[in-house]
């Protein structure tokens, strides 16, 4: 970078240095003489009696010392004024544009880079229009992304395919193209096409931006305000400048593409996680249903046949009791797989009034067998008069299942899990707390909990809390985890009630399956 910077300023430096030396001498001389004159006046007035103080050598010495001390400041003002007064406008923009290349090095944001470039050109070079065209890899076209003096509604529509004459010419010619000279440089037909494209870009000079032999875009300058043509020196300078700007623009484009790719990736990842997770439960549930419900049908069916026959043959009461238990218990077993399937359904964005109590009860029922085996006690505290909250019930079932399974895992053998759902009047939010007396979470893991695929267990996917957080954020809610190793963990979710009803909702609806299969 440094060397290129030297090259670009080298032809400026000579002129600049001679001017500077000359100016230094003049300024110092005038300053010294001025101070000397003042001293002489003052000394003649106050020290008339002491001739040694009035000696010119002493006064001159003082003057020089003071002049040198103040030189820096005085020089700055004088130089600035001088520059404005005596340098040509083009020399002024040489300085401004050289400064631009220094500023650009620190910027990586493409819109910021392109705006700075076109605005600096527009303001300092005094062109009517200035625009920056870059190659968009996604679309495979060159398009104008920033412009000075052209309205966005117009310049955002300017797109050039890679095989357009102007793009071809810029790539092969690799030097600034000036509209007036096109007819001398190219055959008639090609020149005509190029002129049309100059007109589209409202340009009189197009400077290619080339980096590693690739045309990454172009800087298009319109006519100067005074309508005078660019001098050859200007064009050479722009060419050098373009070599400087090109890598900066290229880097900004790459950063932009990385950002976009990263965004796409995150989105795909989220979708993938959600879909794989749900369809796995779905597959499991339908598979289980088929394998379990068929034998259950026969067990329950045969018991029902006997029960229906009982009037004719007269069983004793005990047998009837047993048969009824068989029918009841097979139904209960079937309910579990049915509940499991309900968890995986309703992926759409259907919103209905969330029945927190039912959801908590259903979830606890799903895990209750495991918990009973482990000696885990569940305490449920659910406000009966919660404000109406609209949401996707499947999503909420998933939240409670995730939290409950985590708690069961943490508690291990014997302990208590406390689930509460309350309305916090002050926060105007529904607060869900799932607390366990389990092993707790180590402090260094606390801030990683919501990262996808973060888990400390071998048999887990590490998606539970990630998915939970995603869902909570959809409802503008918050989730946090407090934990102490050896004492337990609390997960606290807050769902703001305000504005919740404004989102589309389809009102409370029962499950289709429950309606149909009401037997």
């Amino acid at each position: 970078m440094g060397r290129q910077q030297d090259r670009i300023t080298s032809h400026l430096r000579k002129r600049k240095q001679i001017l500077k030396r000359f100016l230094d001498a003049v300024v110092l001389f005038i300053l010294t003489y001025f101070i000397y004159a003042v001293f002489q006046l003052v000394a003649g007035f106050f020290f008339a009696e002491s001739p040694w103080l009035r000696a010119p050598v002493v006064l001159l010495g003082f003057s020089v010392v003071i002049a040198v001390l103040f030189y820096k400041r005085v020089d700055y003002f004088i130089f600035f004024a001088f520059k404005r007064l005596f340098l040509k406008r083009s020399d002024q923009y040489f300085f401004a544009l050289t400064k631009l290349t220094r500023d650009l090095v620190n910027i990586l944001d493409l819109p910021e880079v392109s705006n700075l470039i076109v605005n600096t050109f527009g303001e300092t070079v005094g062109v009517k229009t200035a625009s920056l065209m870059v190659f968009d890899q996604n679309e495979g076209v060159y398009q104008v992304i920033s412009a000075f003096g052209i309205s966005p509604s117009h310049y955002l529509k300017i797109r050039f395919a890679v095989d357009r004459p102007i793009v071809d010419t810029l790539r092969s010619y690799a030097k600034p193209l000036v509209r007036e000279k096109i007819r001398k440089l190219f055959p008639w037909q090609e020149a005509n096409q190029l002129v049309t494209e100059f007109e589209i870009l409202e340009a009189s000079c197009i400077i290619p931006l080339i980096c590693n032999d690739q045309l990454i875009g172009s800087l298009n300058l319109g006519v100067q305000e005074a309508s005078k043509p660019f001098r050859d020196a200007d064009i050479r300078f722009f060419h050098e400048l373009a070599k400087e700007i090109a890598p900066v623009v290229r880097n900004a484009i790459m950063v932009e593409e990385l950002k976009r790719a990263n965004q796409d990736l995150t989105q795909v990842q989220t979708e993938l996680i959600q879909s794989t997770r749900l369809s796995a439960i779905e597959q499991l549930a339908t598979g289980l249903a088929h394998e379990i419900h068929n034998p259950l049908t026969i067990i329950s069916g045969k018991a029902q046949v006997l029960l229906l026959k009982k009037d004719k043959k007269g069983y004793d009461e005990k047998v009837e009791e047993v048969l009824k238990t068989i029918v009841k218990q097979t139904k209960r077993a079937a309910d579990i797989t049915r509940k499991l399937l309900m968890f995986s359904q309703g992926k759409g964005s259907t919103r209905e009034a969330i029945a927190f109590e039912t959801i908590v009860n259903d979830t606890v029922a799903l895990v209750s067998y495991q918990m009973a085996l482990d000696g885990i006690r569940v305490v449920k505290q659910i406000d009966h008069h919660l404000p109406v909250f609209y949401g996707n019930p499947t999503a909420f079932r998933e939240i409670f299942l995730n939290l409950l399974l985590n708690a069961v895992q943490a508690v291990g053998k014997s302990g208590t899990i406390q689930i509460s759902v309350r309305y916090k009047t002050l926060d105007r939010a529904i607060e869900i707390r799932v607390a366990d007396t389990g092993i707790g979470i180590q402090a260094e893991h606390l801030n990683q909990l919501f990262n996808p695929f973060f888990t400390t267990r071998k048999d887990a996917t590490g998606l539970g809390l990630f998915v939970t957080q995603q869902i909570i954020h959809q409802y503008s809610g918050s989730i946090r985890v407090e934990s102490k190793v050896g004492e337990g963990t609390i997960v606290i979710i807050q769902l703001p009630v305000d504005g919740n009803g404004e989102q589309e909702n389809e009102g409370p609806a029962e499950y289709t399956q429950q309606k149909i299969a009401a037997h």
């Binding site: 339908t286 088929h290 068929n294 026969i298 299969a517 037997h519």
Partner: protein
């Protein structure tokens, strides 16, 4: 005598339902696949079909579509282990007359079959 067709890939279910309905004086036929079921429907023209969804080869939904297009008067009751809501809705859209999940309540099933037969008789 009322003709009833039971379609299920699990033969034990078929046999069980066959014996249950035969005791209630139905003429019960059995098919273990969708293809077989279509043949029986074509030849015997049962009034009611009890149809499972999850079957190897031609599944219950395809079978339902075929039956309802070729023999629209035949009543079809889907008798299945649980399925996703999409599948249930698809069945109803294709003209299934009811949807019952396993394990079955035999009393409910018998009433439903009787009801379907009565409604056929009325419409005739």
């Amino acid at each position: 005598m009322v003709k009833l067709l039971v379609v299920d890939d699990e033969n034990e279910i078929c046999e069980f339902l066959k014996s249950f309905f035969e005791e209630r004086t139905y003429n019960v036929m059995v098919a273990n696949s969708g293809e077989q079921a279509l043949d029986v429907v074509k030849q015997e023209k049962p009034q009611v079909v009890l149809l499972d969804i999850k079957m190897p080869g031609m599944d219950g939904i395809q079978t339902l579509r075929e039956i309802k297009t070729k023999f629209p008067k035949t009543k079809v009751i889907m008798v299945t282990a649980i399925e996703t809501r999409d599948k249930i809705e698809e069945c109803l859209r294709l003209g299934a007359d009811n949807y019952i999940t396993k394990p079955l309540s035999l009393e409910y099933l018998e009433n439903d079959v009787r009801e379907k037969i009565e409604s056929t008789a009325r419409s005739n």
